[in-house]
Amino acid sequence: MPGENQWIRTLSHIARSLAYDLSIEIAPEELDLFDEYADVDPNKHLRIHDDEPLAFGISEIVIIMTPILVSLAKAALEYLAVKAPEFGYDLASDILRERINNWANPKRAQLPNPTFSIMREGLTHVVEAEALRLGLDNDTSSKLAAATCQRLGFQVD
């Protein structure tokens, strides 16, 4: 499809930018080597570790977060790109309805946007699943998912 490569490049660029922002929060000590590690394939985490840390081979003593963050950012952006046309109409109508209601009744309590909540839950689920697939534990996955949602503007209530 014409323009597909351009779209992938744009997505990768935004993902790297998002991952950099996440790295500032999650792993600031890795920023020094961010450019080198952003292009590394994080699926290496899925390999079985046949060797020990004190032997040369495939061995990861501490998890290097940069490639994982880039992968999570890509997964989140791909989810949003796919779901945006689907949720776009509902989201816009929800926002418009909320505005009209607020204008009609200024003292009315603010209600959370239902479509927005559905999108955030979906996004959280996608990012968590990707993090778990890359070998991270449940707590770290949840923490990364929350941070990613926050960076993309989906504030946690």
């Binding site: 792993a27 004190l54 040369f56 061995s59 490639p67």
Partner: protein, 412 residues
């Protein structure tokens, strides 16, 4: 940390199955004389079918082949390693943090010059030491660049562990063991190839139609099958050599661990050995791996004396290796003297050394058996002497028993 002496830490001089100097010497002797013995049989096979006359004595050619194979395969392995891991000198990475950390650790631990290479996958956080023409070489995984930023203590532990190999002279011992092992493997392989080639040559020759009718070619064919069976009988010995080689490498790791703990404390090493990636290993891994499992290393680190204590299997295994060495030396000795007068000066000192060495090991084994029976454990230095005395006494007793049952002896 201070600059260390270059002497390995003696933990238990009598724990022979774990004491690597003796095992290393035994392994080299076994490999060397085994190579000569097998090479001699290969020459016999070749000379039986060709009119080739070697310009040098057979054993001299065997020794030359042993060293050429050992050195060339080691060189090929080095080149292969460099290409496989895409190694580059540390200075080419322009990573000041890594350079400063590594150089500071090297300077504070040893006064030897160490060449540092970086390579491998960007996520690899491991290191390896080898030697090239006697100079220590470090191979650092590219992931260590990240580790030095995230966990400097663990990074220090890994580098000091590699330096412990340098201090313990493991790089020389390991490279010589590897070279000897590869030479033996090559000779074993050559022996089988020559045997099978000869067998096929007989089957494909004009003698084949007559083989089942004429007794003589049949006898020749069966003698070939018999010699092939004898070659196959070497396979268990080859397996023992493999096991011993791997065991030797694993023990060096324990010594390097103890050295590391003495330099920077146990905490970093213990954290490294209990990291999530250091899971349980299978029995196959434990038997054939070049590195001990994290669990074994942790146990050895926490309780070296218990780990070093000779088990009955270790004792029997090492004693068998000693007996095999003595047998191979005995096998190599008479033809060396009978056929090759000019070789006496080369082989005789080595053979004499081997005889004394095996006698020394026999005494140690006897002493260890008595120690297990009588003393049970060594807690004080004076009990080492008890082991020596028991070992000597057992050898004298054994010799007297041999002569007692030998009717032709006038020992008494």
């Amino acid at each position: 940390m201070t600059i260390c002496d270059s002497k390995p830490t003696p933990l238990d001089p009598f724990a022979i199955p774990q004491a690597t100097t003796e095992r290393f010497t035994l392994f080299l002797l076994l490999a060397f004389f085994g190579t000569i013995m097998i090479a001699r049989q290969i020459f016999d096979l070749i000379l039986r079918h060709t009119s080739f006359q070697p310009f040098l004595p057979k054993d001299v050619i065997a020794i030359v082949v042993f060293f050429i194979v050992a050195v060339s395969i080691s060189m090929i392995r080095h080149i292969q390693l460099r290409r496989m891991w895409c190694l580059q000198p540390l200075s080419q990475f322009h990573d000041d943090l890594l350079s400063k950390a590594v150089n500071a650790l090297i300077a504070s631990t040893t006064n030897r010059k160490v060449a540092v290479w970086v390579g491998g996958h960007p996520l690899d956080q491991s290191a390896m030491t080898f030697t090239l023409f006697g100079r220590p070489q470090f191979m650092l995984g590219r992931g260590l660049r990240m580790l030095v930023r995230k966990q400097p203590k663990l990074f220090e532990t890994i580098i000091v562990h590699e330096l412990a190999h340098v201090i313990n002279r493991d790089i020389v011992i390991n490279s010589m063991t590897f070279a000897a092992f590869r030479a033996v493997v090559f000779i074993f392989f050559l022996y089988f190839v020559v045997q099978i080639a000869e067998l096929f040559a007989i089957f494909l020759s004009s003698e084949l139609p007559q083989m089942f009718y004429v007794p003589e070619p049949q006898r020749i064919a069966w003698s070939q099958i018999d010699s092939l069976a004898r070659a196959s009988a070497l396979a268990p010995i080859f397996v023992l050599l493999v096991l011993e080689h791997r065991r030797l490498l694993r023990i060096r790791e324990h010594y390097a661990d103890w050295r590391t703990a003495s330099l920077i404390g146990e905490d970093g090493l213990a954290a490294l050995l209990t990291s999530p990636n250091s899971g349980d290993k299978s029995a196959r891994y434990r038997l054939l791996a070049r590195h001990p499992s994290a669990e074994d290393r942790f146990r050895a680190l926490k309780n070296p004396s218990a780990f070093l204590r000779a088990g009955s299997f270790d004792l029997a295994f090492a004693a068998f290796m000693t007996a095999l060495t003595a047998y191979w030396v005995g096998h190599a000795y008479p033809p060396a003297i009978r056929d090759l007068k000019d070789l006496e000066t080369v082989l005789l000192p080595l053979i004499a050394f081997t005889i004394f060495f095996t006698a020394y090991l026999s005494m140690i084994f006897s002493g260890l058996i008595f120690r297990e029976l009588v003393v049970c454990s060594i807690r004080t230095e004076s009990e080492y002497w008890k082991t020596w005395i028991l070992g000597g006494a057992s050898i004298v007793l054994g010799v007297e028993l041999v002569y007692l049952f030998d009717e032709e002896s006038n020992f008494f």
